[in-house]
């Protein structure tokens, strides 16, 4: 008979980063009619606190979620490394990296890694002051934990604040900039108070599809698992985002946000410093698995 899975997004319903999950649910419920259905309960924090999504998935309170590794470090510390995946997902699936990553997910978080939904996002620093070199000395930059190590490594001051306060802080120059993904600044109207975007982007912010391991292995049969995986792979393999991100960069340009480009050597150093800052944190969290993951995730 029909199996019903409880689904939750770590992002607000209808927002950019919940959309693919919502589209996925629609596809599953159409194709799986009669055998499987995902009951979409909504997004965080409407149905549960953001940082509890991972734990609730682990405990089986919910069955299937879309979230980012930034939000479930409490159940899987190594998730910290996932923004540092630089090889394409297809390669990660063939080089044994995904198998290793999934093993960590199963053992520590009782979670099955199904697919990565967003593959082309980059992390950026947005600024109100022009800089010529990858040097943030004297700049106050609003950060999340993901951005702090790299901002500080490049000499800047990382400032914490909650997203609702960021607009006012930018408007009144309490901060000189902020770290954010390629897309999403229009959701907060930050384009009105932003002058520059530092290119290139660094890290690959990940948004993934995860399922509870018990649900996956015990509640579902082979056909149901295949259906869920196949539909997820379709989304993972899609390159439609590339055009959308290009359009977003255009839109930012039209809103008056200029791209800052460094000289090629500086550019390389910028990305490298960010990468090293990221891995330093991972290696501190897991001295054992950090280097292994780096072997799978990068081509160095």
């Amino acid at each position: 008979q029909e199996v019903v899975l409880k689904g939750v997004a770590a992002f607000q319903e209808g927002s950019i980063y919940a959309q693919k999950f919502e589209q996925y649910i629609k596809a599953v419920n159409e194709k799986g009619k009669g055998q499987i259905r995902i009951q979409y309960l909504g997004g965080a924090p409407k149905v549960m606190p953001l940082f509890d999504v991972g734990k609730n998935l682990k405990d089986g309170v919910i069955d299937i979620v879309t979230t980012s590794s930034a939000y479930y470090g409490n159940v899987l510390p190594e998730a910290e490394a996932m923004k540092l995946i630089e090889v394409p997902m297809s390669e990660l699936r063939s080089n044994g990296g995904l198998a290793f990553l999934n093993k960590l997910h199963v053992e520590k978080a009782n979670t099955e890694f199904l697919a990565r939904f967003y593959n082309y996002e980059r992390a950026h620093i947005f600024l109100n002051k022009e800089i010529a070199k990858p040097d943030f000395s004297g700049l106050k930059i609003r950060v999340t934990p993901m951005y702090r190590p790299m901002v500080e490594k490049l000499g800047g001051t990382g400032i914490n604040s909650t997203p609702p306060e960021v607009y006012t802080m930018l408007e009144r120059n309490t901060v000189d900039g902020y770290g954010w993904a390629t897309r999403g600044i229009f959701d907060y109207s930050w384009q009105k108070v932003t002058k520059f975007r530092v290119d290139p982007g660094f890290y690959h912010p990940d948004i993934t599809l995860l399922a509870n391991h018990d649900t996956w292995t015990k509640k579902l049969n082979d056909a149901q698992r295949k259906l869920l995986l196949d539909l997820a792979m379709e989304i993972e393999a899609s390159t439609a985002d590339v055009a959308l991100i290009e359009a977003e960069r255009k839109k930012q340009e039209e809103a008056g946000i200029k791209a800052i480009r460094f000289a090629p050597a500086d550019e390389q150093r910028y990305v490298k410093e960010a990468r090293e800052a990221g891995w330093a944190v991972v290696n501190k969290i897991s001295p054992e698995n950090g280097p292994k993951l780096r072997g799978y995730f990068t081509k160095e």
Binding site: F51, K55, G73, N74, V75, P77, E80, K108, G138, K140, P145, R148, T157, G158, I159, N160, S161, T162, T174, I285
Partner: protein, 172 residues
Amino acid sequence: MTIALRLFEKLIGFFGILFGLVIGLIIALICIDVALRDFGLGSLPWLIELSEYLMYAGTFLAAPWVLRQGNHVRVDMLFVALPKRLAVRLEQLVDLVGLGISLVLLYYGSAVVSDAWRNNMVAYKTWYVPEWLLFLAIPVSALMLAIEFTLRFMRVQSVVRDSYDVTDRATL
């Protein structure tokens, strides 16, 4: 027994005063942070995280003290409307329900703590904080609340014969 009660009263009062001092500390730190930032001397990156944990832990740990003072808001319509003898019984019922809730929070709050301990769960923002330590405030608070609800239940019983004034335990 009286010494134990005295000590308990001191303990819950201590947590109340501690929370007050913590609020003073948060104010001071925010002012320092603003000053550092505006003079370009850096900032206190851990300030938000620290304040968040302190506001949460302070609230839970001071809750029994606030209960002792009768300062948790409640609707007292029924108490005022009922004859005194019934009002007293209702008060006892309320205390029993409160005791039950506290015991559930105590039991499952402890389960949350031990679960976080066993799985080495760590909250990471600017600090790595073991989650069991964060959650500890909940069962500790629940234990004190359970004791306080029990004391309230007995206190009401001991004054039934006197003129028990319901309004002295009213809302705010």
